[in-house]
Symmetry: C2
Subunit: 319 residues, 2 copies
């Protein structure tokens, strides 16, 4: 049985085949020739609108995303765009599992796992961590090309990678809980910079007022930005505040509809291209380093017959 | 007045001119054309033997280095090699000062600042941090070419960078203090891997026995290595244990004189070449990213006329 081409799979995915869609997403996760062919197709379609959710573990992001999926389907519209289905990427750089079967379908977001208007996919690191920061943007475009104009991307964990992935979204939601101001000193700065919206989830717990005050104070100390991040209180387990959060997302989407979206997208496109160029070069160096010419330059260095700068130039000219 | 060439400066440095030596070290710190010409000269001479000292701040590394300088001059020999002078590089990635005037000559290692058998140079970050991991190896080779076959390289701080720099030494000494086992959990693993010798400095304080036991336990849990790191107790402020430490360094040097030195040097030469190749490529990407062709590819991406992988290939072919 011959492997279907990315073109054939994309046509099937657009026709509603979740299996074909999963196959395409596996292509962009695993690299190789099919990855490049899939990327070529995926980037030929307009980018979808992406809401990123990030924040410390234990903040209830999954439940909140679950509520947002329901709200999205109820409304069927964000900004001026309508849609009948919603895609979700769950990104966990610390997990070796991917493909959606383990985290995505079974444990998380159970309310929607069997809803055919919802497509949930888990993405996890495959071997090397750097891969996800390329694979997630590609997966976003695959979903966009496959008929999902609106996506949620939820990241698990609060490392550099997670923040980087979430902040590649059009609207970045940072999910906090009461008392967050005290505990997350180390990563606060990074999250503050990328947030378009703050959520104080689990707002039935004490300390909401203090956390809001802390966030407002930190925002007032930061640089002036044309969009001032909104702060929304939610209690996802009781579905409280979901409509307010959705309204805030909608407000940010409408704000982006004007000029800023173009500039913001341009900046993010530049950052994405930087990453791919860096990755292509890293791959080239890794290949170089395995070759005989590299060993010869090391011999020359040990024999004091060259210096590392001339050795590098020689290797890069030959490659 | 025309600038003297690196060749002329090296001849003066070999004749004893500290000013000429300082100029050469500034060349390798600051990049540019003179850096390449200086590196070419420096790497044409054999590499000096380097003892690296690293470890958490407050461990008394500077005082210990001071004592080791005195011991080195008293002995005048390490392994089978004799020498009449000793060079010291103090590396502080967190400090904006360099050139030796501020840290090196005035505050640190005051016993030897006026001894003409000793040359002390401070190196600090100039603008970007990545620079030091290239500049320090180059400075080591400059000192080697200028008549210093034996060097100490002391790093201040315990970051990734400091460990990387110290572990590029032939003999890496990790300086700890009693109670270290408790406080430095986070960076212990990295330091354990690079250590050829452990020093428990300030050994007049309580907790020496426990710290030694902790270190021995950690070593016994680690991978089997042909050289088992020695543990030496010192009290640098009273010059106690210095001879024992020097003897341990000497023992490691003699161990390296056999086969392992060749393999260890080869590995470190490979790592150094990897870094330079990576740096040359990064510089190339940065230059690319400033160009008009890069903006054109971003335009094409925004118009869905290419994908990041094809864009990267196009840019790299043209560069």
């Amino acid at each position: 049985m011959s492997e279907r081409s990315p073109e054939a799979l994309l046509a099937e995915a657009l026709g509603g085949s979740r299996g074909a869609l999963a196959r395409l997403l596996t292509f962009v996760e695993s690299g190789g020739r099919q990855q490049l062919a899939t990327a070529e197709l995926a980037y030929a379609a307009p980018a979808p609108y992406v809401v990123g959710l990030t924040g410390p573990p234990g903040g209830g992001k999954s439940t909140l995303t679950d509520r947002l999926i329901a709200a999205t389907l109820r409304r069927g519209q964000v900004g001026d765009e309508t849609f009948a289905q919603v895609g979700v990427l769950c990104v966990d750089p610390s997990s070796p599992y991917s493909g959606g079967a383990i985290l995505g379908d079974r444990i998380r977001m159970q309310d929607h796992a069997t809803d055919d208007r919802v497509y949930i996919r888990s993405m996890a690191t495959r071997g090397h961590l750097g891969g996800l920061s390329l694979a997630v943007p590609d997966a976003i475009r695959v979903l966009g090309a496959a008929g999902f104009p609106f996506l949620f991307v939820e990241t698990v964990g609060v490392g550099q990678m997670e923040v980087e992935i979430a902040s590649a979204a059009d609207t970045t939601v940072v999910v906090t809980v009461p008392g967050w101001g005290d505990s997350m000193q180390a990563s606060k700065a990074g999250l503050l910079e990328v947030a378009d919206l703050f959520v104080i989830n689990k707002a039935d717990r004490p300390g909401v007022k203090e956390t809001r005050r802390d966030l407002e104070q930190m925002l007032s100390l930061g640089p002036d930005r044309p969009w001032r991040p909104m702060i929304v209180e939610t209690c996802a387990t009781n579905d409280e505040g979901t409509e307010e959060l959705f309204a805030a997302i909608d407000a940010h989407r409408r704000y982006l509809d004007d000029e800023p979206l173009a500039e913001s997208r341009r900046q993010r496109t530049r950052a994405a291209l930087d990453r791919v160029v860096g990755e292509v070069l890293r791959a080239r160096v890794a290949e170089l380093a395995r070759g005989r010419a590299y060993d010869e330059q090391i011999d020359a260095l040990l024999a004091c017959k060259t210096d590392p700068y001339r050795a590098a130039e020689t290797l890069l000219l030959e490659s």
